[in-house]
């Protein structure tokens, strides 16, 4: 059977994965090296151990037929959700977040595995409901599957991990055949719900005195609520009218009216329920420059590290931003700036290329399999990896909000590496079995 694996494995996928993790380990070595005391903090050794264990996971996942994952999707989901819940309630907070289970010499972050289990369950659900998925009601279950763990993880609180579920869910629903207007409507509602409270908080914070009366009007809760109520009334009356007088034009009225009305209603709720510091935190998340001493400082230093690397880089172990400690979290969230500083544009492009190969293979595998579950599973895993990469690298180069998301394969940390390598194992498995189904 092993022989079988080694003859039919997905070479580009696995080789790119290995190279990425090895490059990551090298950079973790560099980032952990203390030039004054001439010692290394030893993160790289642990990462090598995680890598070896990760390989085992990958091989195991390549061997066990992925269809078993579908069979046990609910059980896997339930068990991991339970562990995440227990962690959230009982774990001793590390840097203010109750996300880790401590085993003494190492700790595990169950929410990383939650990502995979959500993808597996969603894939299974979407496979089962393939024909009905265009119905809006069929989206309630997927939303529940995602929102329950998201709310628990938000409680930890781990904003970054929680946030990653949302785009992954939308990607899977989109590929899984959901009605695009449903997805757009949902996104619109969320946008409207967040826009007005944020705008108001931002104005308050920046001391902006709006000259536009119309914009100012929207910052008053009663105005928002009134508009929302009027729209809701219009929506309901047109909806009722729709029963008696079946005209398509009515749909064009009550659907947007409902969307805007719900968005405004939610925005009133958010405005009332969210505390000021919570709203400010979201604003800083969206624009780190609002907080130049906090997350803004990290981004400035990361950009200096990347930019100063130039084309060829400063050389291995020679990055001043890395070695002199100006770069924060350099082994985990900010590993990409380390690569860019020490190995320059060339190194950064090698890393990007490796990640690109992995994602491209992921999409190819999803397209090549004839099994709907496998296709959705591959899409979900690829989406997890993609959004990690996009948000992480985007954050370090200053075009994405600041979140505590690691760069898959490169960042130090066992849980994320296990999750990523299990994901690769599943992809490999689908790739090997694609002709059977």
């Amino acid at each position: 059977m092993l022989n079988d694996i080694f003859s039919r494995w997905d070479r580009p996928l696995v080789i790119a994965t290995f190279l990425a993790v090895v490059l990551g380990i090298l950079m973790i070595y560099s980032a952990g090296f203390d030039p004054v005391e001439q010692i290394n903090k030893g993160f790289y050794k642990k990462q090598i151990v995680w890598f070896i264990i990760g390989i085992v996971f990958m091989v195991v996942m390549s061997v066990i037929n992925y269809r078993h994952l579908g069979d046990y999707a609910l059980q896997i989901y339930g068990i991991i959700l339970f562990i995440v819940l227990l962690t959230t309630i009982f774990a001793r907070p590390i840097r203010g977040t109750s996300a880790w289970i401590n085993f003494g010499f190492f700790s595990i972050q169950p929410s990383e595995f939650m990502k995979l289990s959500v993808v597996i369950l969603l894939a299974k659900y979407l496979e089962l409901r393939e024909r009905d998925i265009r119905n809006f009601r069929e989206l309630i279950i997927p939303a529940l599957i995602v929102m329950v763990p998201v709310l628990i993880i938000l409680k930890q609180p781990d904003f970054g991990t929680a946030a990653i579920f949302i785009p992954v869910m939308f990607t899977m629903l989109f590929v899984g055949g959901a009605d695009i207007s449903h997805l757009v409507a949902t996104i619109l509602i969320a946008f409207i719900a967040l826009f007005f409270p944020m705008l108001y908080t931002y104005w308050e914070w920046a001391g902006y005195k709006g000259s536009s009366i119309i914009l100012q009007m929207f910052t008053h809760l009663d105005v928002l609520f009134t508009i929302s109520a009027i729209l809701l009334f219009i929506a309901i009356s047109t909806f009722v009218a729709h029963f008696f007088w079946n005209q398509k034009v009515l749909r064009k009225i009550y659907i947007p009216a409902t969307v805007i009305s719900l968005g405004l209603m939610l925005s009133v709720v958010i405005h009332k329920w969210f505390k000021e510091y919570q709203k400010k935190r979201i604003l800083v998340f969206l624009n780190p420059e609002l907080d130049p001493h906090g997350s803004g400082y990290n981004i400035i230093q990361a950009k200096i590290a990347i930019g100063s690397g130039g084309f060829f880089g400063k050389g291995f172990l020679k990055g001043t931003q890395t070695q002199l400690g100006f770069l924060p979290e350099k082994t985990s969230d900010f590993i990409f700036p380390v690569i860019s500083e020490e190995l320059g544009f060339l190194g950064a492009m090698v890393a990007i290329a490796l990640l690109g190969i992995i994602l491209y293979r992921g999409i190819q595998i999803a397209l090549s399999t004839r099994d709907k579950f496998a296709a959705l599973l591959a899409t979900g895993i690829t989406a997890i990896l993609f959004f990690h990469i996009l948000i992480n690298i985007g954050m370090t180069i200053g075009i994405m909000p600041v979140t505590g998301l690691p760069l898959c394969f490169f960042s130090y940390g066992g849980s994320n590496l296990f999750m990523s390598m299990i994901g690769i194992g599943i992809l490999n498995n689908i790739s090997m079995n694609r002709s059977y189904y």
Partner: protein, 617 residues
């Protein structure tokens, strides 16, 4: 499920997967573009930012140039007026310590040695930026640094930096001329930063220190420190060695300066001794003085406030920054005007009954301090007879007197190499009309001719005028810095050449009359005290009436303006100008001061005498 539905769904799936692929590709393209933007397009800027991050340079102060008196010669040590004392600053960066407890430990050990108060210092450190270097104690002696250095392990993270302290060796004697240094004010920094001045540097605040700041200051060096994010040193090297400032040799003779300052003891006033042949200033003192060493010391605020609030204005360099009516010394100008315009002649006599009556709608009497009887111009200058000059002034007329006062440079700056020079003032008919709304009266002319009324002069302006008379009409710019030496005194970098300020075409008759009149003043007139000198001197006293009644009974400023040797070599001549505020009489207050200055000059051999054994300076 029909096949067609299955196919349709598969097609939809592929379309949507393709869309996802396009999204991924677009996202990667954006990432790559931004990386290109950062690394390739703006790489140079970020390299500079990275360098700024890790460099935290410590300045190495340049030794400020020393200042010597005129006797300083290459290789031979002269009188050092200003020098520098080695001293150190103890500094630390709070974040370098592992903990606040460790810092407290170290400071507790250090406090008794370096003599600072532990609790106050810790409180101040807590208020400061923990990443920045904090100056723990300034002006720490060398032996303290040796102690710390030899027990370095007990004093981790304590650094010492060179911070030489300026010493003004003769404190108040040179206070006004040399001035002092100090931290820059905001305004000074704003105007000087373009020239490379750094906010932490000191700058000359007044006097020579200010005027020659660029020559004295040198260039600070720095230690290039590579630091980590906690400002811990990763490595350091000398980035640039400091370049010491150049030394200055003054034209001032320490001995004369000290004698003049002594002679002024107890009074408020100024003494200037200047060589008319070149413009070199031999002495320039102002009383009351102050001690620049106190001004530059750290605990100076009380002293400065006290000095600033003192009614006697000790910071004022009265020689150049204070204006007084020239009084009888101005009679020389009236005489010049009369002789040059040929409205009168030296032997012309007037009768002095002790007063002069100005005829008019109402007759007004102008008094002389005594009845002199009949006298000519020589005796009038010698006796300082006001009635003679009232008459002369009326003959010549105000316009010509004013014109000659201007010719003599009384309303022009002397351009001396000191900051803040004031200029004297000579009135005009137009000025009076504009200021008081009144025309010029004959009474004003009477006052003008004896230097009362509106005319005011600075001591340096008056001295400069005398230089013109002694030097037969040629006036040189007065100056204080003779030579500029390299820091090791081995090379002369610059030498001040005499610079002609103006040439007044005075006739020999005029010059002769003035000099003879002033000589008589010494021989048998208001300056008779100078007759004792071993050098033939000549001079003119003055007693300026002021409206102030600050000192009871005494409301007159005393002047003496003279030179020596009379009839001798102009090259060896020295002009002395003495002003004593509220000194009552020129002859009783100012002349004794001049006498002591001249005596010192004689003693030092300034004047060429018959035998050539005495060195001419």
């Amino acid at each position: 499920m029909t096949t067609s539905l299955k196919t349709r769904m598969l097609e939809a799936f592929r379309r949507r997967m393709f869309f996802f692929l396009v999204c991924v590709a677009t996202a990667f393209a954006i990432l790559v573009l931004q990386i290109i933007n950062l690394q390739l397009i703006h790489g140079r800027e970020y390299k500079i930012k990275a360098a700024i991050n890790m460099e935290n340079n410590i300045p190495i102060p340049a030794a400020r140039g020393e200042i010597y008196d005129r006797d300083f010669k290459k290789g031979i040590s002269g009188t050092v007026l200003v020098s520098n004392r080695p001293s150190f600053n103890l500094t630390l960066v709070p974040k370098n310590f592992e903990s606040e407890a460790q810092m407290r430990d170290v400071l507790a050990r250090l406090a008794p040695i370096a003599e600072f108060d532990l609790e106050t210092t810790i409180a101040e450190i807590k208020k400061s930026n923990p990443w920045e270097r904090f100056v723990l104690k300034e002006d720490v002696a060398f032996d303290v640094v040796v102690k710390i250095a030899s027990h370095k392990k007990f004093f981790p993270n304590i650094r010492w930096e060179d911070a030489p302290v300026r010493i003004y060796n003769y404190s108040d004697i040179f206070a006004h001329v040399i001035g002092y240094i100090g931290s820059m004010t905001k305004e000074e920094y704003n105007s000087l930063k373009e020239q490379g001045y750094k906010y932490y540097q000191v700058v000359g605040k007044t006097g020579i220190e200010k005027n020659y700041d660029k020559i004295l200051r040198g260039e600070d060096g720095y230690i290039r420190r590579v630091v980590d994010v906690n400002n811990r040193t990763e490595g350091e090297e000398i980035g640039k060695y400091p370049i010491a400032g150049n030394n200055l040799v003054l034209t001032i003779d320490y001995e004369v300066q000290a004698a003049a300052y002594d002679a002024l003891a107890g009074s408020t006033g100024s003494v200037i001794a200047i060589k008319p042949a070149t413009g070199e200033i031999i002495a320039m003192v102002s009383r009351p003085g102050f001690d620049p060493n106190q001004i530059i010391s750290k605990e100076n605020s009380g002293i400065i406030r006290e000095l600033l609030n003192s009614p006697e204005k000790p910071f004022l360099n009265r020689s150049i920054q204070s204006r007084y009516p020239p009084a009888s010394t101005f009679k020389l100008v009236t005489a010049i005007a009369a002789l040059e315009t040929e409205k009168s002649y030296p032997d012309k006599t007037f009768y002095c009954p002790g007063k002069y009556t100005l005829k008019g709608y109402v007759d007004r009497d102008f008094y002389c301090f005594r009845a002199h009887g009949t006298l000519d111009l020589y005796r009038a200058i010698a006796e300082s007879c006001s009635v003679y000059f009232y008459n002369l002034g009326m003959i010549v007329g105000p316009t010509m007197i004013m014109k000659y006062a201007s010719y003599m440079g009384l309303d022009e700056p002397t351009k001396i190499d000191l900051p803040g020079e004031l200029t004297g003032f000579v009135p005009s008919q137009r000025w009076k009309l504009k200021t008081f709304g009144q025309p010029w009266f004959d009474g004003d002319t009477v006052n003008l001719s004896i230097g009362q009324g509106f005319t005011v002069v600075t001591p340096i302006g008056l001295a400069n005028m005398m230089c013109g008379i002694v030097n037969n009409g040629i006036v040189y710019k007065p100056y204080l810095v003779k030579e500029i030496y390299s820091p090791d005194n081995k090379t002369v970098l610059g030498k001040t050449e005499k610079e002609k300020l103006r040439e007044i075409p005075l006739s020999p008759v005029t010059l002769n009359t003035l000099k003879q009149g002033m000589r008589y003043s010494v021989q048998n007139g208001t300056s008779a005290l100078l007759g004792r000198l071993k050098v033939p001197a000549a001079g003119k006293t003055g007693t300026a009436q002021t409206k102030s009644n600050r000192k009871e009974n005494v409301s007159q400023h005393a002047w003496f303006l003279g030179y020596a040797p009379f009839g001798g070599d102009v090259d060896s001549a020295v002009v002395v100008c003495v002003l004593i505020e509220y000194g009552q009489w020129g002859s009783s207050a100012a002349v004794p001061v001049a006498e002591r200055v001249f005596s010192k000059l004689v003693e030092l051999g300034y004047f060429a005498t018959g035998d050539t054994t005495t060195q001419i300076k």
